[in-house]
Amino acid sequence: MALKGNLRDFSTTQLLNLVNLARKTGTLTIKDSEVPSRLSFREGKLIFATADAAGHESGLLVSILQRTGKLSAERASAIRQGAGKLGDKQLGLMLINAGVVSQDDIMQSVRQHVLDITYGLFDRSEGLFRFDANILPPPECITVSIDLEGVIMDGSRRIKQHEQLEGELPSLDRALKFADRSNVRLRKLNLTEEEWRVISLVNPRNTIRQIGKANNLSDFQIRRIVYGLLQAGLVEMTWPEGIAPPRPRRGVPVGEPAAPPAPAVKRHVIVRLIDRIRRIQ
C-alpha cells in the first residue's frame, strides 16, 4: 500500500513523526519542483538524503565534502576526474587512505548533508509525497543513522505560522502525559532551556495553558513547543486530571457541563444485538 499525499495536508513534521513511531524502512520522495528530494530511513532512523535529479545514484561524496569545506574546488575536480565510476564507499576509503580526509570528516559531512536536505523540507507547505517501503539507497552509498526525535524538534522550532499550529493544537485546555519510553528518548535529545522547563511541568494535572503561563510563554510559543514534543512522540494529549471532559454545545462555552453518562443498557440487550448482527446475510 502506498503512503502518499500532499504536504499541504500532511506536513513534513507529521511524516517524520509517522516514520519514527512506525519504525519504517524505505524512502520518502517529496516533489514540489523538477528536482525531487528523497529521504531514506531504516527502522525509523534517517540514513540518507538526496536532492538532485540523480536520486540515489552514487558519486555524491565529492560534492558533499566540497560543500562542507573538506575539499577545495580544485581538489574536488581532480578527484572527480580520477575517481571514474568508483562508488562512494570505495572512494571514501581511498581518500582516507590517501590522508585527504578522515573517516570522521566523511561521516560528519554526510550527516550534515542529510540534515540540510531534511531541514529544507520543513519550510515547504506544498508538494506531493510518496513513501516507498523497503526502497533503500544502493549499497555503495555512505549512510548515517540519525534519530528523528531531535530532527523533529529542530524542525518544529522553525515553524513561524500561528495558524498552522492552531490547526494542529486547537485547545490549550488539554493536559499532557509522557509517552512510553519517553525518558529514554529524552536523554538523547538536545533540548532548549525553555523546552526543558515545559517538560518539567508535563503532568495530567496541568493544562497546556497553565504550563505556558508558568513559563511566561505566549500561546504561540507554548503551542510550538508542545507541537514539537507531540510530533517527536515524547508526550501525548490527555484530559486534565479530575476535570470531566467538556462537552461542546452550540452557544455554550467549552468547559461547562460534563457529558451525561451513556444510557444504561442491560448486558442481554448487547448480547442480542451481537447475535443479530452476526446473522446479517
Partner: protein
C-alpha cells in the same frame, strides 16, 4: 419495544451513507443534496442532515444507525444525533489525507462524550492509495487502546465486523462496571 442507537460519524465523503446502507434492513433514509461547492466535488451529492438505517433484532428490540452530515456547517447536528447513543463509529477515508485533520477534529469533539465507547474504521481499504490502518492510527493520533479497524463500507462483512467490535467494546464496559459494583 426498546430502541437503541449508534452513530456513524466522519469527515465529508468518508463513506458513512454507504456504511449504513450495507447493513440496514430498510432503504436508508437520506437527506442528500447536490454539491455546489467546487472544493467538495469529490462526489455528486452529500448528506445535509442525517442518514438513518434500521436493524430489527426482534419484536422487542430495534437498533437504529444514524449517520452525521459530513459538512462542517452541520456540526450542530452532532450533539442532537449523539444524545443517548450506545456508541459511535468514526469512519475515515484512508485514501484522502486531506480529510485527516477534519477526522482528528471529529475524534476530538466526540471524545468529549467521555463515557461513550467508540471504534475508528479505516474505510476504502480497497483503494490503491489507502493508508494502512496502523499508519492512520499515528496520523490521527488514535490511542493504542482504541480499536482501529480496516473497512470497505460497500462490503457488508467489513461493516458487520466494525459494528461487532463496537458492541464487544460496549459489552466489555458493562462487564467492567458490573465487576466494580
Amino acid at each position: 419495544m426498546q430502541t437503541v442507537k449508534m452513530v456513524v460519524t466522519g469527515p465529508f465523503s468518508a463513506g458513512k451513507t454507504e456504511f449504513i446502507r450495507a447493513v440496514s434492513e430498510i432503504d436508508v433514509v437520506q437527506t442528500e443534496r447536490k454539491i455546489t461547492s467546487a472544493a467538495e466535488q469529490v462526489k455528486e451529492t452529500t448528506t445535509v442532515a442525517m442518514d438513518f438505517g434500521r436493524i430489527t433484532v426482534d419484536e422487542d428490540l430495534v437498533l437504529y444507525l444514524f449517520g452525521t452530515p459530513g459538512q462542517r456547517r452541520f456540526d450542530f447536528m452532532w450533539e442532537i444525533l449523539s444524545e443517548g447513543m450506545l456508541g459511535y463509529i468514526v469512519l475515515v477515508d484512508s485514501a484522502r489525507p486531506e480529510t485527516f485533520l477534519e477526522a482528528r477534529r471529529i475524534l476530538e469533539t466526540f471524545s468529549t462524550y467521555a463515557t461513550t465507547p467508540y471504534v475508528v474504521a479505516a474505510n476504502k481499504q480497497d483503494h490503491p492509495d489507502a493508508w494502512e490502518p496502523e499508519d492512520l492510527r499515528i496520523a490521527l493520533r488514535v490511542d493504542s487502546n482504541v480499536k482501529l479497524l480496516p473497512c470497505v463500507a460497500k462490503d457488508k462483512e467489513y461493516v458487520k465486523a466494525v459494528l461487532l467490535e463496537l458492541l464487544y467494546r460496549i459489552l466489555d464496559d458493562i462487564d467492567k462496571a458490573e465487576g466494580q459494583a
